[in-house]
Symmetry: C2
Subunit: 377 residues, 2 copies
């Protein structure tokens, strides 16, 4: 990890948000190059690096070495791995650590890890001194294509996932594609669900390319970098058009309302279901529900099911290990999900592959009836 990358391939995606614009660098060797990339972009010379127990043993030392080689003084804080870390006590720990390290306005807070570390650290950076500089170094596919783009940060509440947070844009994202080689197949697949999502939202050709090329993407190399860059660009375009999620950005929630409900129903137990798996099942359900509402052809739902199933993602509630709570509990989680306005249910539905849209008046009774059909009991 400490050598210069052997392959020169590197992609850069610009997130255009006026004075809050930033670059996402995507390619091999970026952890080793972190000091140079960060050092050339920031005025301050101090950073606080937040990571977790899974990532630290592999990447923390080379990352710190790279910073040090560029004259950047860094302190690090290692948190427990897992979704439960997205909580108030850990948020307080990180804020205290960053303040204790005397990180000032030109310095930065760095998230070295997956979505949990990125969401928590970004939130802390967003509230320390009412907003500090923030750099993301995402180490999972999910974080590279989703959570590290767009500035959504947050923690979970006992009332639901990501219900507490801020919008806080990073100043730089370094997506080192080498790190994906150390992910478990299950974790890689979970991130792939979000890659597929961008095709399903509004890029039918991209989805068709994924259907043909997924084996290359899973194998690594240029196809993988291409898939990540296309995903980041897709998300960047949506975020640039609608930073605060007043309209268009809601499309990024395709599969997420059902997905979040399933995550809540499995108590965020990653042995049973991880976020990307919830999104995979959620996207299948969204396409099936759209077909049931006569909005889309059942063939499209079957195509989504076939592709996600082929790569090894779960595509039905029945595949979730253990007993699911009753449908009424799922409905309650859906109603408490943040995409709710004055009691009406808002869902992302579709008219076909790559033709998603925001439906903000979905009758709860239809959703209930649909879930009763699909629930494994």
């Amino acid at each position: 990890m400490t050598q210069a990358p052997s392959s020169p391939v590197r992609r850069s995606v610009r997130v255009a948000l006026g004075e809050r614009s930033y670059d996402i660098l995507i390619g091999p060797g970026l952890i080793a190059a972190a000091g140079a990339e960060i050092g050339s972009r920031m005025k301050g010379r101090r950073v606080a690096v937040i990571t977790d127990e899974h990532v630290a043993p592999i990447y923390l030392e080379p990352f710190m070495r790279s910073l040090s080689a560029s004259g950047i003084e860094a302190v690090s804080q290692v948190l427990p791995a897992g979704e439960k870390t997205k909580s108030f006590p850990h948020l307080m720990d990180v804020c205290d650590g960053v303040l204790g390290a005397r990180i000032e306005r030109n310095d930065a807070v760095v998230a070295l890890g997956g979505g949990v570390i990125g969401d928590l650290t970004g939130f802390a950076a967003g509230i320390v001194r009412r907003g500090s500089r923030f750099i993301q170094v995402p180490t999972s596919l999910l974080a590279q294509v989703d959570s590290s783009v767009g500035g959504k940060t947050g923690i979970n509440s006992r009332h639901g996932k990501n219900l507490i947070g801020v919008f806080h844009q990073p100043d730089l994202v370094l997506a080192d594609t080498d790190v994906l080689d150390t992910l478990s197949p299950r974790e890689f697949r979970a991130g792939y669900a979000e890659v597929a999502k961008y095709g399903l939202i509004d890029k039918p050709e991209f989805f068709a390319w994924l259907e043909r090329s997924w084996r290359d993407i899973f194998a690594g190399g240029d196809a993988r970098i291409e898939a990540i860059a296309t995903s980041c660009q897709a998300k960047a375009d949506v975020v640039a058009a609608d930073e605060r999620e007043n309209g268009l950005r809601a499309l990024l929630n395709l599969g997420h309302t059902f997905g979040h409900a399933l995550e809540a129903a499995t108590e965020y137990d990653s042995h049973r279901l991880v976020h990307g798996e919830g999104v995979s099942i959620g996207m299948v359900l969204a396409h099936q529900f759209s077909a049931r509402m006569n909005l889309a052809s059942p063939d499209d739902a079957r195509r989504v099911e076939a592709h996600l199933g082929e790569v090894g993602l779960p595509i039905s509630m029945a595949q979730i290990p253990g007993v699911l709570p009753p449908v009424e509990t799922l409905m309650d989680a859906i109603a408490q999900d943040k995409k709710v306005k004055s009691g009406k249910l808002t869902f992302i539905l579709t008219r076909g592959i790559g033709q998603s849209f925001v439906a903000d008046d979905v009758p709860a009774s239809e959703v209930l009836a649909f879930l009763k059909d699909k629930h494994p009991k």
Copy 2:
């Protein structure tokens, strides 16, 4: 409190922040009129009211009755009074309470109380669902003229005051001037320090009017409403020009760097020192230090001292009950204060009454020597 106001005098100040613009209504009877004022401005029909143990027994019931009479469904949460409430555990409590009350995007979170309740509740509103509607009903003079204008919210950290928070603008501020009659003289004076601050920043005629008219302002009536409206307008003008405190807004910190250090030195013990008293001493110190640096005439420092002393505010460290920590501890608190850039000290200094400016390269050695002179030992 439940009757319509006997006096029709009401002032309105607009804070011009584009799509985040809002009104501050100032006058008698606004708690009784809260339901009508809120109801006519918001789409949602639910609010969560956050208040404290001191305010609740006097104002919560009439406030809730006013909401109910306008068809607004409200839940309330009563927190302990005092600066220590601005902490992570209480922030978590409020977020949980607001989410538990199912406050949605068109609904609102209401702060009914002084600066502590406003800062904490505004922070909670700023992070619940990544930003919820927020209404301030400030019940202290300090909150009416300072913390309820401008969108700064936050809690304290063990590293210092207000170091964690967000910018989150309210949608409406209702400053009921009747409630000021129930403040203790000490609390009223503490708020008055911030009123005087607006004169000292850039309104020499306002400061001269205060020197002449402070007895009328303390007595209540039109002079008081005029002083509050002028203060709110002064702060609104600064905030509109510089919402995120990149430049001009720093002037509002006149007296605050010294003041915060003194608050930290007295461990936020309100028996020894409250915020406005710290600001009063801090403003005197800022004028004395400016004179020492040959920036301003010592006569101006004496005039500030004379006026603040006349109204009964503390004007020197020697007046703080108990033993102060050594000067080095004060310096450490000053360095950790958030107005620091790459080790340089930033202070608001002055060239005379109403001629404050941002000095961002104040030598720490000069400050240390000055404080050694002024420290009561």
